[in-house]
Symmetry: C2
Subunit: 404 residues, 2 copies
């Protein structure tokens, strides 16, 4: 009947992927840079290190003065200065001289190597060196890490701790990053209440409110969540309010395929509905539209369906708004029992991995949240596939691989 | 010389693992539960769903009344009530009757199945049914998701969006989670300045300040960072201050092995130094101690060494304070060129993966942050191994697998 009007998954993904992604930038202190996405190329403002420096606590010497030295046949040098960390010696070292030096301190002029403390004996100003050094031994050369003007990191990099470290060490205190988008989430449904104390008769708790908030957070964005009853006027008002403050909107409920339904109708009036109904299972009642060039993802009211729809259609879009581009990570596993599948529908079977094996869950139903809780992955069955036999290899997407 | 005094890695890990881990709990709203660790078993306060309900928009009927119905031979029923989402019908359905019903609404008494709208034609109060239903078709039974009193999730669960969803749907508004520990970070070093404008002569930028802050954040904890010069009195004061407000302390710098060094000496005076010097590379100058039963991780001042030490010694401890227990995820890769290694030292070689291959980086030096930036993993070479030949399989730890 209506099945013929369901769009194939690939077509829907194409429509969503062709929507212009609007990215904003902001400046943050490098101390707040962890896990943010760089929105500019970063070039070094200095040489690092800025000078040849000692890699060890020890004595700066002329390597030539130590040639042939050993425990049995030590050489003797005069200690002419002592410099700690952050200090500099104004001495120009001559043959037979040494300067006591801390790790990281600049090598005095005239010296070309550092002998480790462990290979020396200090007697007043006499230094016994029991080791034969080669020139530049234990010297970290100037600009060894990077040169002034060098490209340190490119725009688009998701910053790890070491990336934050190198940016700060290259002289930057502020950096441009992509703004975390604000995602308006509107749950709809007259049957939904926010807590157990409000439950009576046909009411149930609005778990989508919390699940969607967490899903948006798991995509590194900022959720702004509201609940609305099924009145078109209220849904319309809430969408218009979120259009002012949010970069994209997600709704749940009111997306039934067979008829006009409140959310899809409202979006159709305020803007354009580009998708309504997708050939996936679970998650068929999905809509996608645009209002004033802002994307509206219309998810099912069913908890499981809305989670699957978020994973399939929404997450990557939110990540792209932050300049994060990812390929889905598909792994191969051996299925532990037969899975029948409907031709013409892409299926997302909740499953649990077990080494190289994978067990499809027996619990079904788009409302059974437990099926998402007891599983750790989806088995993907494409629309041209009638199912998978026991012992066959299948494509698996791990939930953990979806997190940023 | 001093090498004989370096502790083997395994012994150090044993010492750290035997330190009592103190965990605190706090109550948060379920809306703030994402990515937190549950600190109590959660049992359901209700049946979900609380009643047999309709899985579809359609008509509640007695399945027996539709037996044999088809498009050619439809049955006719009388519509005696209409209920939307969140509404309940007080009617007891008799043979030949139907109730228009929204998805999720309770099945009226007397009905045992729901026919989808798509298989019906409505004419006033007459309903034409073109489909033969089996009893319980399109009915989601009461407590299908979970029963009142059922164990929903166990203490120790790192909460994903679906876990947040099921907890809320089981009637809980607040949950107990493990507190994020506050980690005091003290960077030391007279040579360190906080910004490029302060650089002169032998000074360098204190990148450890930012790197360690980010590393603590990457372990889901709360950093509290301060910088101190190398005066024992100041280091001592800062440690004592952080002992009041923090759950553990990390220091950088002042851990040289060959001699007394400021941080290790101060910790020795205030409490007990249990480890000083570890047979790993990079990262040898590592110290571990306890003051008033709080752990103090003393890391090298060298940026790369301190990052490796964090990954090897600190991260898992911080995670355990949040009740997160993990096995290191080691994968196998083929090494693209020979790696020599020192017997008696566990080595962490910065490397870059490339499919099944792995390329060890040629840049070395404990101060060269670029080696951490250009790599995505460690090749692990244990202390009894003299190196790996080109084309051999090796153990690899991916940086991304270390994140929570």
């Amino acid at each position: 009947m209506f099945l013929s009007s369901l769009m194939p998954l690939e077509k829907v993904l194409n429509i969503i992927n062709n929507v212009e992604v609007i990215k904003s930038r902001e400046e943050v202190s490098i101390g707040d840079g962890y896990n943010r996405v760089l929105a500019e190329d970063v070039e070094s403002l200095l040489n690092s290190p800025a000078f040849d420096n000692s890699a060890m606590d020890g004595y700066a010497v002329r390597a030539e003065d130590t040639f042939g030295s050993s425990q049995i046949n030590p050489s003797h040098l005069k200690i002419v200065d002592r410099i700690g960390a952050g200090e500099v010696s104004n001495i120009t070292l001559k043959s037979g001289e040494s300067v006591k030096i801390a790790t990281g301190a600049p090598i005095p002029e005239g010296a070309n190597a550092v002998v480790m403390e462990e290979y020396t004996i200090e007697n007043g100003n006499d230094l016994e060196v029991e080791y034969s050094l080669t020139p530049f031994e234990n010297v970290s050369p100037k600009a060894e890490d990077f040169k002034k003007g060098a490209l340190i990191l490119k725009s688009g990099k998701l910053l790890r701790p070491q990336d934050v470290g190198i940016i700060s060490s290259s002289g930057h205190h502020k950096i441009k990053v992509f703004k975390k988008p604000i995602i308006g989430v509107i749950t709809t449904g007259n049957e939904l209440v926010m807590s157990i104390s409000e439950i009576k008769e046909a009411k149930i708790i609005n778990s989508n409110y919390y699940t969607l908030k967490a899903l948006v957070e798991s995509a590194a964005a900022i959720p702004n969540v509201a609940h609305c009853n099924d009145e078109a006027e209220n849904v319309s008002k809430q969408i218009e309010e979120f259009l002012k403050s949010c970069d994209a909107i997600i709704t749940t409920g009111g997306t039934a395929i067979s008829k006009g339904d409140v959310v899809v109708d409202v979006v159709g009036e305020l803007g354009h509905v580009l998708v309504h109904g997708v050939a996936i299972k679970p998650g068929k009642p999905f809509g996608f539209g645009k209002i004033n060039n802002k994307p509206i993802f219309m998810l099912s009211g069913y908890p499981v369906a809305s989670m699957v729809q978020f994973d399939v259609f929404v997450r990557d879009f939110i990540l792209k708004m932050q300049d994060i581009y990812r390929e889905p990570q598909i792994v191969k596993k051996i299925v532990s029992r037969k899975i029948p599948s409907t031709l013409g529908r892409t299926e997302y079977i909740r499953a649990k991995t077990d080494g190289d094996m994978i067990h499809p869950l027996k619990i079904k139903g788009s409302g059974v949240i437990r099926s998402m809780v007891e599983s750790d992955s989806y088995i993907l069955i494409d629309e041209n596939n009638e199912g998978i036999k026991k012992g066959e290899e299948c494509d698996v997407m791990l939930y953990d691989s979806l997190k940023v």
